[in-house]
Subunit: 241 residues, 2 copies
């Protein structure tokens, strides 16, 4: 009995980046698992480590080591607690994925990687990358697009400024996010010839929670949720969040 | 720096009982913390251990040891990971609170205890106890009411059967819960002379999420959320969930 449970998957979540996005991730994890009783659900250990330093600030300033060290430490904590695989509910933080993978012996379900592959599978020819200035500077998505041979578009300076306002001044501050501002971002992506756009910041997944979006937008968090449910050997519901 | 962080509170959550209730608990924890950026939030480690055996089944059958051992083990895991206090998002599981308190050296914020004290402070004279058959049989709330000198009403057999249907057949199975059935439960509580009712099962807190309720109902989960935010030294928002 004891041995059997030890073999059961336990998903570790590096979260709290931000907290609202992490709780929505958890909501989708529960909703997308086909279950009729508590015991049908995934075992999950969610580390909402809200005090991880800001990822974008670290990347833009070049002072990356405190974030890298903290994420590696948090990953080790989750592995020591018995987690069998990891997910991280922050796209920008995937810049530090190599350090996390080096720190632990369990797999990390890589959100940007999974999302670009999904876009490719969907036949997207030119993918708009919507995310933080940190993720753009670090090339979190660009590098994977290059590897996968997916053409991508990085927001111009003006569009990126609008995204920063949406993500930092509005959504992370608990506001729903300005629809007019988001529409301008979407218009810029379409004007650049994109036929798909990744919501490559979990705060934009929070935005989507409150404002249903066209399927032009691929929600990286939803792709990650599906991968987590499958990795833990559970059936997915068809019910989209 | 390292030492300072080690002193920062880390809330450990014994959750997954059920998963939906635990994610709503997390949602309220985030919403009720006054914050303008990620780093203003609580550090939290949520163990959604969905495979904890059913609490009510254990209490009704008398085969309690597997649940008791598992909860003690999960509490030790959270303490070993650095948690500084614990909360448990299942009222019925508080029957096992003594074993949890014995297993660890960190405090458990006791949901039924906090809730009965809140009801007393609100001046409730006769409190209806709405929860699982397991919680009723174990006297989870009755014992505290006796200690605090709060008169309480335990649902009759017919009303308890309706609560069991709501909790197990409907809410735990992912349904919103039948309003007519809930109204019958509420009517029985009022007919018994109660001037307040505790939502003493977190599945009923899930029900409340979907059906706004009169302040006759005291949501144990909300009381626990407020205690957690305060215990971690964070300011509460006034914004009720």
């Amino acid at each position: 009995m004891e041995k059997q449970r030890e073999k059961e998957p336990l998903l570790g979540v590096l979260g709290g980046m931000g907290p609202e996005a992490t709780q929505i991730f958890y909501r989708h994890l529960v909703r997308r698992t086909k279950a009729a009783r508590d015991q049908d659900h995934i075992r999950v250990l969610i580390f909402g480590d809200a005090t991880v330093p800001d990822r974008t600030a670290a990347i833009l300033s070049g002072d990356e080591e405190p974030v890298r060290a903290r994420l590696a430490e948090d990953a080790r904590l989750l592995e020591a607690a018995g987690c069998t695989c990891l997910a991280m509910t922050c796209n920008t933080a995937h810049h530090f994925a190599p350090a996390i993978r080096e720190a632990v012996g369990i797999p990390l379900l890589h959100m940007p990687d999974l999302t670009v592959r999904r876009a490719k599978k969907m036949g997207v020819r030119r993918l708009a990358l919507l995310g933080t200035a940190g993720a753009m500077k670090a090339g979190v998505y660009q590098d994977i697009c290059a590897l996968e041979g997916v053409d991508c578009w990085v927001p111009d300076r003006e569009t990126q400024a609008m995204l920063t306002t949406l993500i930092y001044d509005q959504i992370k501050a608990g506001q729903p996010g300005d629809e007019t501002l988001f529409a301008k971002v979407a218009a810029a992506a379409r004007a650049a010839g994109c036929d798909g756009a990744v919501l490559g910041c979990t705060e934009l997944s929070v935005y989507r929670e409150r404002h249903p979006l066209h399927r032009f937008f691929i929600d990286a968090m939803e792709v990650l949720v599906e991968a987590c449910v499958s990795a833990c050997g559970k059936p997915l519901t068809e019910d989209k969040p």
